[in-house]
Subunit: 246 residues, 6 copies
Amino acid sequence: MWTELAHIVRHASADPDIRVLVLSSTSDAAFTAGLDLKSQAALAAPAPDPARKALALHAHLSAFQSAVSSLSACRQPVICALHGIALGLAIDIAAACDIRLCASDTSFGVFEVNVGLAADIGTLQRFPKITGNDSKVRELALMGRPFGPKEAEEMGFVSEIVDGGRAQVVAVAIEKAKVIASRSPVAVISTKHILNHARDHTVEQGLQYVAAWNMSMLQSSDTAKAMAATRNKEPVTFSGFSDAKL
Amino acid sequence: MWTELAHIVRHASADPDIRVLVLSSTSDAAFTAGLDLKSQAALAAPAPDPARKALALHAHLSAFQSAVSSLSACRQPVICALHGIALGLAIDIAAACDIRLCASDTSFGVFEVNVGLAADIGTLQRFPKITGNDSKVRELALMGRPFGPKEAEEMGFVSEIVDGGRAQVVAVAIEKAKVIASRSPVAVISTKHILNHARDHTVEQGLQYVAAWNMSMLQSSDTAKAMAATRNKEPVTFSGFSDAKL
Amino acid sequence: MWTELAHIVRHASADPDIRVLVLSSTSDAAFTAGLDLKSQAALAAPAPDPARKALALHAHLSAFQSAVSSLSACRQPVICALHGIALGLAIDIAAACDIRLCASDTSFGVFEVNVGLAADIGTLQRFPKITGNDSKVRELALMGRPFGPKEAEEMGFVSEIVDGGRAQVVAVAIEKAKVIASRSPVAVISTKHILNHARDHTVEQGLQYVAAWNMSMLQSSDTAKAMAATRNKEPVTFSGFSDAKL
Amino acid sequence: MWTELAHIVRHASADPDIRVLVLSSTSDAAFTAGLDLKSQAALAAPAPDPARKALALHAHLSAFQSAVSSLSACRQPVICALHGIALGLAIDIAAACDIRLCASDTSFGVFEVNVGLAADIGTLQRFPKITGNDSKVRELALMGRPFGPKEAEEMGFVSEIVDGGRAQVVAVAIEKAKVIASRSPVAVISTKHILNHARDHTVEQGLQYVAAWNMSMLQSSDTAKAMAATRNKEPVTFSGFSDAKL
Amino acid sequence: MWTELAHIVRHASADPDIRVLVLSSTSDAAFTAGLDLKSQAALAAPAPDPARKALALHAHLSAFQSAVSSLSACRQPVICALHGIALGLAIDIAAACDIRLCASDTSFGVFEVNVGLAADIGTLQRFPKITGNDSKVRELALMGRPFGPKEAEEMGFVSEIVDGGRAQVVAVAIEKAKVIASRSPVAVISTKHILNHARDHTVEQGLQYVAAWNMSMLQSSDTAKAMAATRNKEPVTFSGFSDAKL
Amino acid sequence: MWTELAHIVRHASADPDIRVLVLSSTSDAAFTAGLDLKSQAALAAPAPDPARKALALHAHLSAFQSAVSSLSACRQPVICALHGIALGLAIDIAAACDIRLCASDTSFGVFEVNVGLAADIGTLQRFPKITGNDSKVRELALMGRPFGPKEAEEMGFVSEIVDGGRAQVVAVAIEKAKVIASRSPVAVISTKHILNHARDHTVEQGLQYVAAWNMSMLQSSDTAKAMAATRNKEPVTFSGFSDAKL
């Protein structure tokens, strides 16, 4: 399943006519209840040489991490619309997206500790960096207790709680996506790219990088177009990247 | 304008008798509505060689970034008193200050995406590092929608909302500035310097740096002075740096 | 005192039968009012050669930092139960713990600036990284003003306020500790270790590290045990590390 | 071509029965004379929107870099046997390998500056880090002048000059490869992996990482096997990774 | 003197018609014998408050470092032609340049330790990073013993020894400068900029940065021009940056 | 043995009257032939739970690394005088010292790969950073072949080959140690401290750190003393740190 998710996301990232993605579940009950525990148990089966087994596990984990990270690496922003049961892998996936909204019926949990392991595909790396209460992050990850929308919002994990369930949160996500899709794709792609870079560098390094990046981006015709539209309060449409193939 | 701002801030930073700065606007309506769009459009005009144009834009951006960063590099703390319209450049400037207060009439916005570009003089580097809700930061920067004092406070962008407008928020900023100005300048300058360092290093590197820094600072006569004053509940004044010129 | 604290914590860290620590004060009035000011004044006494004095101060600070950091380096999680007066050193210590709870009677303060110095044993390094409002952190550290439980919770410093005083907050801390102690120690120790690593590295570096770490941890028998218990809704106990001595 | 190279290298990296790679050219005259200049000229053709063109160039460069970096990311060591003309791309490729040998007839050159561009697929990143004379690196990259085996060896770019041409250097490379192939693959793969990690981290971070990595690798049965063989001065063979598939 | 040096270098860096700099001394006897010791002694004079004195020293050192670093920050490459006495500050300055040549009469020395201090304007930061024998670097810096051209070349500090003195080494430096000046300034400036960036980042970060940088630089008309000239073996001249002012 | 080594080194580091250390072997035949292989085999014995075994191995490796790193962390410089057989652990230890000299009879080897493991107590982290030929480092570490003094000197591992064996190299080491011991200990300790810091930080971060460090060190009375002695060509002695105890 996660291999397929990555495949779709990487395809979208390369498509110059896609402006933004909304990620949601098709089940009314759950965003996802996490990994199938049986497959996880197979990983833990004893092996004749723990070192060779370890190398195989390393290759498996690296591929899995890369799949989840495709959401963060995707050029266009990804809005994650969470609802219902959202456990384990749900947190890894949501944390790799750009914007997180949740329905008021969402039940969250970093449950890996409950099945005897430390989360290893992104939660422990991204969850503390995108929120503002490290004590809460550690409490949730070390106790493995469930938490609700209010706690998620107060700690900074979601930016909005939508009253209702799956249908309601997806509707709000699509509204926000429409606004983003109406902006210049040069500006939108650059903004996500620069925010990703800034997270992993010092302020000074980040400033140097955005100066290098924008010395071409500021030469876009979209700026004049956007400014004229703003001034005249007229609608404006921006072309995709199909005209920029090498 | 921003060249002049930097000039003043750098002058203040070198003045041993200045203890703290308050940055505010003189207009009742706006802190700032951002850059003049016309000058920005000129930057985007087509050029015969995009590479040479790019090098010129790089030099321009580096100088502009350096001007805004002068607030962060200033030895003394800078309190930013925000009110009214506070768009685009307002966020870059406020994010480079130490303490942010806003009046209840403030209307914020990361509006660069609306005019076809990614913010490039500090907002995308500093805004996520000084707040606690990355989903909200990305929503605001990618959608270009306005936000108010309550959202700003909840996400951790300001530390206090002052009821009223320009006059009221400036008054509170000055009160806080007076408390800071009454402290030992050795302690105040060191605290800002160490906080800036800590933000861009690991905890371990930060601890090593403060040990190196404080091995001279702890030899200050201000400590004994401050402690005596605390013990005796008497007022105390500390000298500036004019007596320490080489 | 802090030398002894470090000694105990390091001893606990090496003990395979200890699963979690709760740190609290035995005084009803105070968690701690901070360092003895007299000893601090002695440090600042004039010396014939400021450079030799500086080297001695550096050795002193490094040892003190290392003692406080033993809480963060401790393999098992440490829950800090704060109450009453919690000033200066209290913030350094609490910030080095994993989970922070406070009683509703707690009075906090980063008071170092009030006695003429910049905090140098962890507060300025950890406080901004574990909370979500940098403006508030700087206001508190630069002004040296007290703050209460509500401000601490809103800025993300504590994850829960417990109504009452010392007895009440310790009781809640112990309840949480019991849940953590019931989880697989392989999973708990790994989760803390990985969270500590993630804080000081980029997301990508963090992912690579957890893949290296978990290629042995996923071979634990605790996973099968934990999953069976979850499936059968039966209690489960995990062994300590005494069976893993080399 | 470079897409195909990456494809082969990635395939080899995943093959548990491959122990080491030797990279050489099939032409007696040249290792490679670098990129086809015509394709490079096409990249530089004017475009209606320099920003959209830039995004397309960015995607192109990222893919190209990733192809060359597959040599460095390959789990098994890669020995690069250089001879004859070795310009431009030759340096990028060789620098991404682990061991570099050259024939005495080799003519090297960082020639990108001669055709109006800065090398962008690895030379400027790796060449200074794997050699020991930064002044020489900069002279060669800024002047675009050719250099020979002796200069390459003295500055630390190759570890051995083999008298002769293609046939001779490939023969020596294969001899070295045979020794590496006779070692435990657990030890060989780990050594390359840890050297790659060390290059991009501090000494302390590197030590922490190898401790995490080796806590599984030291559980290998290869250690006992290798030691017994050493003691008894008997030949030994180690199995590949086929027995470690999950 | 060093303030003036920085002033000239910064001026040159902004001049679009300057392609390369050669730094040498006008004295036949010495490149420089280092700082005036008397001014250094004044810095060490006792002060009433070591902390205030320390802050003044910090400002002084920062300004001095920034002056020497102007050579490294200069957009165009700087060739340092060393000869005669080259002690203390000579090493700081040379290490901040791009290419180092020395006359066979040069006498080098990291002599700061001999006058009771650790070098603090660049030698200890840059010397080990641009050479390939850390044991030698430490021996020279800790013993304060002189070393000659051969040792300098073998450890990778200079890329060429020119037989003779000042006149001879300057002549060779100018020859090399002429070659660099004949290359596309887009390519030359970019190559230095990217090498500087690479030194202070991981390989992966460096690759990401050069991709961002080159997405505008590859759109230069210089590439086609340089390639045509190469193909036709004809001379070529490239314009400066005067045509790229905003 | 290595526990004891660390104990002695840490004791020396804290002793204000020790100026420099020389590390050598008492055996005429060997510096060290590396770890006792039997103890290593015990580490690899199969365990019921590979995860618990891994945690025990992690604790063991961390302690062992810390012991070897005590040489690098030691405040005073350590000169390593190598001779005879110098395999495995010999490289880890030598790489953690400041200055490396070898007798002409020395036989080096990174032999860990030969016994089925990747070196994990420092060689793979430090060896490439202190030398100037990464291809050679990888060849030696991946092939496990012996190398001699000439190869060691050319790649930058030692700074001098002393003709003879143990007695001769120790004599030269002591001569160098005497020079270092005659310098101001403020300058010597600072120089080592700053070189260690520089290795693991960017040039800019290194410059900031040395400015913080030297703002107290430049207030030393040793500077005036050293300058007067230099001027008058008179001998000078500097006091240790016993006068600087807090």
